[in-house]
């Protein structure tokens, strides 16, 4: 029994010391990358290396998500950050999702599943992603990007990046 308790404590400590835990699977997000597309395999780049930030301002996205949340029965009772990291594939679609949930003090937490899935659907509905190519112009590159939503006092108050 002591061994089990020690092992459990050790595992919890290890989790705590990791930067953050990806909770995508726990919330049923699509974590696949190649299952539903014909993209070439290869290095995955970062959006900022190719000036591939989403072409709509975060101010505009915030307004859209705030307007949208009004018509949905979603509880925004908890403060914190809901962050989705994902790969924009060669078809310009967000895939391979990772999910990081933090409270307002940047400590690991959980959020209501309905809220997480609402924001997930919001991101999946964005179809203006830039298609970026390598220097030869022959190959479309896959790249990582993210959206982070901050919830405070019952409102979504910011969207990053």
């Amino acid at each position: 029994m002591k061994i089990i308790v020690s092992l459990f404590t050790f595992l919890i400590c290890q989790l705590y010391t990791l930067a953050q835990v990806n909770q995508a699977s726990m919330y049923g997000l699509d974590t696949s990358f190649l299952n539903y597309n014909t993209c070439e395999l290869g290095a995955i780049h970062e959006y900022f290396s190719y000036h591939a930030k989403y072409p709509e301002s975060t101010m505009s996205l915030l307004k859209r998500v705030q307007d949208s949340v009004v018509s949905h029965p979603i509880a925004l009772s908890k403060n914190g950050f809901i962050t989705f990291r994902f790969t924009v594939n060669c078809q310009g679609k967000a895939s391979h999702f990772k999910l990081y949930l933090l409270d307002e003090n940047y400590a690991e937490t959980i959020f209501d599943k309905t809220l997480v899935l609402f924001l997930y659907d919001f991101i999946k509905g964005l179809n203006g992603w830039k298609i970026i190519k390598d220097k030869s112009g022959q190959h479309i590159l896959n790249y990582n990007s993210y959206f982070s939503f901050q919830i405070k006092d019952g409102k979504i108050i910011s969207v990053a990046p």
């Binding site: 930067a19 953050q20 970062e46 900022f48 000036h51 930030k53 072409p55 709509e56 301002s57 975060t58 101010m59 505009s60 950050f81 962050t83 990291r85 990081y100 933090l102 307002e104 940047y106 990582n144 993210y146 959206f147 982070s148 901050q150 405070k152 108050i157 910011s158 969207v159 990053a160 990046p161």
Partner: protein
């Protein structure tokens, strides 16, 4: 001497990455973590690692971990461990908190900046900026004063009057230091915007125009000046400024802030906003 430090650093990284504990112990015992030359070498080592592996890589994190294993109180390395994560949306403020606890004078302003610009945690940024001001009176970070970041944080949480006070202070400090007419166009823009939100149209117009005078292709002051004229029902004038903002955006002009490639600055616009107002 520097070469020797670089060699020692390379050896440490090699030893750590190969999990050779005994070799590592021998080298670690020879390092004085407080020695500025050693710290300089470590920073240089990271600089080279950035080109070798990129700072978004797992290898980068390993480099940082190795250095922190050797010198756990080296605040800059904690900062470097946190920075790529935060830029990528993984808000590793735990590492940054560690950096702040070791060297608050250097790291607290940086944490405030990361909260204000990257995680858009304006309430958290304001707390940090207050503390930073106590430690480094009249200081700044990333080319702007603490007052600038306080101003844009207040503006972002809807406290336009407070924003005006801090942004005025920011602009006044620059006028005093560099002479009238040499203030940063982003300072002038945000001061104009704060006046606009505080419904002080005359001052808003003055500072937005001053920002455009300093940087004529700056999309944001052109757009918000259009909004101001729209509020005054001067539709033709408004349209002219919206079109100037649109043209500037289409030609790739932006805020000219280094971190703009990663993240939007507060109240930054895109083509969507302009298309919307021009349609109306």
């Amino acid at each position: 001497m520097v070469k020797l430090y670089l060699w020692l650093l390379s050896l440490c990284l090699f030893c750590f990455n190969n999990s050779n504990a005994s070799a590592q112990e021998v080298v670690v015992s020879k390092i004085d973590c407080l020695d500025s030359k050693w710290q300089e070498s470590a920073e240089q080592g990271l600089f080279h690692a950035q080109y070798a592996t990129g700072y978004m890589s797992e290898e980068w994190q390993s480099h940082c971990d190795s250095l922190l294993h050797i010198c756990p109180n080296f605040s800059y390395i904690w900062e470097m461990k946190a920075m790529p994560h935060i830029k990528g949306g993984i808000y590793d403020f735990a590492s940054l908190n560690k950096a702040v606890s070791i060297n608050p004078n250097r790291q607290l302003p940086y944490r405030a900046f990361m909260k204000c610009i990257f995680s858009k945690d304006y309430y958290g940024a304001l707390l940090d900026l207050d503390s930073a001001e106590q430690l480094v009176h009249g200081g700044g970070i990333m080319d702007h004063s603490f007052s600038f970041y306080k101003g844009i944080s207040y503006l972002s949480i809807g406290k336009a009057d407070s924003a005006v006070l801090y942004l005025q202070k920011d602009v006044a400090e620059q006028s005093k230091r560099m002479g009238l007419g040499n203030e940063h166009y982003n300072s002038l823009f945000y001061l104009g915007l704060a006046h606009l939100y505080a419904q002080q149209t005359k001052q808003a117009e003055r500072y937005l125009l001053a920002s455009i005078k300093a940087y004529s292709k700056f999309p944001e002051p052109n757009y918000y000046l259009g909004i101001l004229y729209l509020q005054k029902n001067e539709r033709l004038k408004a349209k002219t400024y919206f079109q100037m903002a649109q043209s500037a955006l289409n030609n790739g002009y932006n805020m000219n802030e280094d971190n703009n490639i990663y993240v939007d600055y507060p109240f930054q616009i895109s083509a969507v906003e302009i298309e919307q107002v021009l349609k109306e």
